[in-house]
Amino acid sequence: MRAKIKIIHASGLENAVLFSIALLLFNLIFPKHDSTLLSIVNEALVFFTIFFLYNYLHQFLSSKTDTPISLVINVGILAALLYFILAITNSILDAEDGRVSVSFVNSLFSILLVFVFMGAIVYIFTTFRELFYLRQKKDHSMYFKTMLVFFALSFFSNLLLLFDAALDYLRDAFYVVTIVLICLNSVRVAWIAFLTKRQKYYLLILAIILSVVFGMVFAQVSDSKTMKQLLYVFSPGLLTLFSLVAIYGAVYFGVIFFTTLFHLPTAEAFDRKAEEVSSMMDLTKLITQVFDFKELADTVTTMTARVSNSDSAWLATKIEKGIELNSVHKVGYIDAENISKDILSLVEESYDRLEIVDCSLLNNLTKNNYNQYKSIAISPLKVHGNINGYLFAARNQESTFDKEDRNAIQAFADYAAVALENAKLIKESIEKERLEKEFDVARDIQKKILPSKIPSTETLDISALFVPAFEVGGDYYDFFELENNKLGFVVADVSGKGISAAFIMAEVKGVFKSLSKIIFSPRELLIKANEILNGSIDKKNFVTAVYGIIDRKNGKLRLARAGHTPILICSNRTIQKIQPAGIGLGLSYSASFANSLREMEIQLKNNDIVVCFSDGIPEAKNSNKEDFGYDRFESLISLNCHKNLEAVSNVIIKELSLFSRDYSQHDDITLVLFKWNQKQ
């Protein structure tokens, strides 16, 4: 793409150079255009040289339209150069004898001079063209093209005089029409509005100087004999073109001068609006990128102060107790905090929309004195009707905040509110992710802690069922193979949830696993477990547990209970609740733990079912927050006790989930069942 453009540029320049060389040679060979044919060929060569030069410069200049002032300055330099040459030649050559020698006119030097003139007017004209099209919203190219046509017509109309001198009215007519078109096209100066105030002042001075310079150039070329003759002899059309461009320059810069003059009063407002728009765009970009609210708050306060013409600005967000400053711009932290608090204390609730506070009023009402400020604007940061904070802008001059200022402050406050909300949401989602990860870890630990194999035998059928809650609870059960065909088992519940509960659970497993190998009395074992846990679990936490030993030879069950839910024994459809005294592990490390703990021995009968469970079953809730309770639980067991253990446990879980289907499961559910089958 770039290569292609280069080629076009080069070819434009090539043609221009080619024609200008041809023109140069032609004029050297034929110093005088005596015949009509020579004149026509010469005019054609001049025209094409100008045309190609124009095309080339147009491509060259169109890339520089971002800085119209520098284009104007270039024109100014060229115009000054032209005037300088004209003035010099006039004063030197005119003074000599008033007549220009033909030899001079045809000398190489004079031809080069004409070339300089030609180049200059093409450059100036091309610049006018670029300025004409700059920042035009509608397509006005028709006007300009018509003018171009009349420029060409004026150029060639001089040739008509060669045929009949009476045709000069036609030349004059084209000339006048071109001037009219020049005037019409000169009013297209939309680009002035987009200059900054400074640039406008600059342009104002430039325009008046240039208008005068072009006027003088026109006057010089009309008055002087030498240059006029020089150009006329070289090419009559070029002289016409030259004077037209000089007129164009004088008119155009005159128009620019007055337009700029009228734009000056609004220049400041325009500047501010432009600044506001660009600041907003910067801010919008920032919102999508910045995760750090502090950084964004700094940008907001800086921009607010600048755009709303305030001396200071600061941003405060609401916290539990009052407000917290996030960013201050050209104001001390303490001052900003005090002022904010005082302003907020002026109203009972909160500022629902942008308000302007008069500081003299504030000084009267509060003990503090804020001499530095005259008025302060306060704007709430509102998202979904909630106010999350405030944006303040303070001024020390008398001038009040006008509508534009207030709109700007409001807009920045809105942006800050959205950004604040975003930052909060991001923080929350990170926290949520972290919690979910934690739950995953806890669930993993729990899975690994629970036994993978259920040690069922012919005489003792066992079923164990565990349903984890969303937030991992601390349920734990385990079986230990003991000597003499005995089986130890534990069902425990660690208070608390999540990863902390999972860790305690892991410790509890270790304690029971090791103690089961050395202590064969459930009561003694629980007392020892309580001692070991002393100091390793938090004051707030406790562990409830049931520990039992079943003798698989004779169906004797010995058990002790440390604060855990009772054990149910279903014997021939009647339920017996076994609840020996005992307090939870970790509730007390004094003698009262051992003193209160009781051990029981029960002789199981054939087909008896022993039910151990966690409080997740009786405390499961429905949408009315009613407990599942012991009655429902017990009747379910007695109704189904003739079935095999899997079926009993399935029925219970089914009924339980049916009961609490509209309420989320808060706690783990554990159900461990034993069935004693006496050998026949």
Binding site: S495, K540, P566, G584, S588
Partner: protein, 117 residues
Amino acid sequence: MADFNVNLRNIETVSVIEVKGYLDAHTAPELENIFNQLLDKKQFKVVVNFDELKYISSAGLGVFMAYVETMRENNGDIKFTNLKENVFNIFDLLGFPILYEFYKDEKEAVQKFNLQG
């Protein structure tokens, strides 16, 4: 989530905490705040009135466990009164009645403190 309300009042030298609604992991910090206030004011004689409490979770129980030691070390105690049957059952199952004093009526508990001096 669940509604919970806690109210603190004084009867002579005894602080009475009334708990209402659901005391669980989410609402327990509110009760902890009250206990912290009492410690700041060096008030160690506490009666907790459960008259309007509907539910207590293990996290709720944990609050009392966390503070009772400090209260007892400073010649005070935490005594529980006016428990509904379902709430008492939870305490009972865990063996709390062995470690804490439970009363049917608030007055009884306050009197007990006064007798102890």
